[in-house]
Amino acid sequence: MTKYSQVSGEIGEFSDLPFWKKADSVDLAYVGYGLLIVTLVIVSYILGSFNLLPRDPQDINLQLMLAPPGTAGSLLGTDFMGRDMLSRLIVGIQAYFLPGLLAISMALFFGTGLGVAAGYRGEKLDTGITYFMNLVDSFPRLVLILLVIAAFKPDIYYIMLVVGLTNVPAVASLIKGKIQFLKQKNFIEADIALGVPTSTIILKHILWHNCRSVLIIRATLGMAEAILMETSLSYLGFGVQEPTPSWGNMVQSGANYFMQGKFWPSTAPALAILFTILGFHLLGDGLNNILEGKRNS
């Protein structure tokens, strides 16, 4: 049931309800699912980093090669070397969690900085930054990553560095656009007239009060992108290397046994990738609709 409280005023309706009560139920479901996935990922990450696993993920057991799901001691079965799938899935999160966070925080930090510089100062600086961003944007990302791998070594942190840097233009243009939109309303000018320091205007009035939701949304979508990048590169053999488990290289090594009817060694990590990325995307999408009100307008 939608409730509106009537107040005197002609500029839009005003409702006192908290935003989760105003939101569409579909969006709430999106966000709920997304939060569930995020919690699962974080919990699994913590479990993995404290080694609280059902079994040792590196423990090779040749008696239990390709055991089907449900085998005693191995809930999701084992892979071709008899290693426990569940433990390996949990440890696989280590492969992308921190690097992914690094990538998005880099993208958000530099993107926000450049976006503010371009949007707030404008004019020549804006032109310069926009040219630079277009330049960065015009490099194909995968080629850049392969270049870095070839030049240094196939390390996930190097890859995520590139992912983060190539995400900077998107964030920068987002923030720039937002600030240019806000500048049309003259509250920034009013703030200056009120003597609010520039740093407060930028950090509090612009970024915190007007851009935080876009940044959160961008962060969730960026994380999904980083996971996809990590898993696909690991699948191709450029990312995390065996025997360290990653969802990507698990799919790759399991795929050999798929045609023998042993589907679980590849399907389990593939589904994990699917549901996780879906979760992050739906979280971003739902938040976008709720916080930015896209569905209402």
Partner: protein, 366 residues
């Protein structure tokens, strides 16, 4: 009342450069004004006469690129005595030919930094301003109460957030917002234009400035709300004795609220003096422009007698090509043959015709 000027603008010039026309838009072209302590100065004029640009120049809000190029703005309050355009000459080089400014070269960054330094203690604290469009002058994603609290925390010596909040609430009460506690947490989009204007006024006054500049406080509001805002401004003036510079194109508001009036046209002041003299129909010396403005106000009498409104012939002055002589020459109905040459050829000065009453017109020069 002993008249002590708080703000003294002398020969302010704010030009913008039109890149496409390769010419200066002389928005403010030699404005001199004084705002006396405890008084309300009304600045009236049609669109494009430079009222708002004058106000924005006072607060240093005109972007540095092209912008304020010369003049003096003296601020003399209890706490601060300063020329707000201090050091301007160091950053702006003017090339003049025959007394006309031909070229301006400006050290934009240097001037901006200098202006920041000078304005730092002035904005909000000494001079506060409310803007034309109240609804968009508030941060759309911030509860209005918080915005007022912020102004209080910035400029007054309130120690705690709670104390600031109490004061913000008392200001909301003072500007007659009903149920202030409820409105405190509302966002601007949930409030009407009149309420936003009240919030803006509360925010401007909350920092206890020496001078309040209200730029078109009633535009965009319907007539009943307009009159309420005017009443509010009048009450605040008598209660708090605030010094105000009131900018409006609405003569009736100016005549109700202000003690003295400056009539602006084409970037200069045409007439300046006590409201009673300038805006009364019987005033003995009056600029033709002011008379024309007064005649163009619709009155009940006009309507019953089915008379047309008296519009001023012609268009607003093109501030790019300002003519040699009087700016109002082409539209003036009182150009007489014996003055024609003088009116068309030379610009008159702002000359005193009575006590404190100044007019810029050749009619009163003999």
């Amino acid at each position: 009342m002993t008249a002590v000027p708080i703000l003294k603008i002398e020969d302010l010039r704010t030009y913008f450069h039109s890149r496409s026309k390769q010419a200066f838009i002389r928005s403010v072209d030699g404005v001199s004004l004084e705002v006396m302590k405890g008084e309300t100065l009304g600045v009236v004029g049609e669109s494009g006469s430079g009222k708002s640009v004058t106000a924005l120049s006072v607060l240093g809000l005109i972007g540095a690129g092209p912008g304020v190029i010369s003049g003096k703005i003296g601020l003399k309050s209890d706490r601060i005595q300063k020329n707000l355009l201090e050091g301007l000459e160091d950053f702006v080089k003017l090339t003049t030919r025959d007394g006309k400014i031909m070229e301006v070269s400006k050290d934009v960054l240097g001037w901006e930094r200098n202006a920041e330094r000078v304005m730092n203690k002035v904005r909000g604290k000494e001079i506060a301003m409310t803007f034309q469009n109240p609804a968009s002058s508030l941060n759309p994603y911030m509860p209005v109460g918080k915005q007022i609290t912020e102004a209080i925390r910035l400029h007054t010596s309130t120690k705690t957030e709670q104390e600031a909040k109490e004061r913000a609430l008392s200001w909301l009460h003072r500007v007659k917002i009903d149920s202030p506690r409820l409105r405190f947490d509302h966002y601007p989009y949930g409030l009407s234009g009149g309420m936003c204007q009240r919030i803006m006024i509360a925010m401007a006054l909350a920092s206890e400035p020496s001078l309040l500049i209200t730029d078109e406080p009633t535009t965009g509001l319907d007539a009943t709300i307009q009159s309420k805002i005017v009443d509010l401004l009048g009450e605040l003036k008598s209660e708090l004795g605030i010094t105000t510079m009131l900018i409006s194109h609405d003569i009736s508001i100016i005549s109700q609220l202000s003690d003295s009036v400056a009539v602006m046209y084409g970037g200069t002041v045409f007439e300046y003096g006590p409201t009673k003299e300038v805006l009364s129909k019987r005033g003995n010396s009056k600029h033709p422009y002011t008379s024309a403005l007064l005649a163009s106000i619709p009155s009940a009498q006009n309507i019953t007698e089915k008379r047309y409104l008296q519009a001023i012939e012609g268009d607003v002055l093109d501030t790019i090509n300002i003519p040699e002589g009087c700016r109002f020459y082409s539209r003036c109905s009182r150009v007489m043959e014996k003055f024609r040459e003088r009116c068309a050829g030379h610009e008159p000065d702002l000359r005193e015709t009575g006590s404190g009453h100044k007019v810029r017109c050749w009619l009163y020069f003999d």
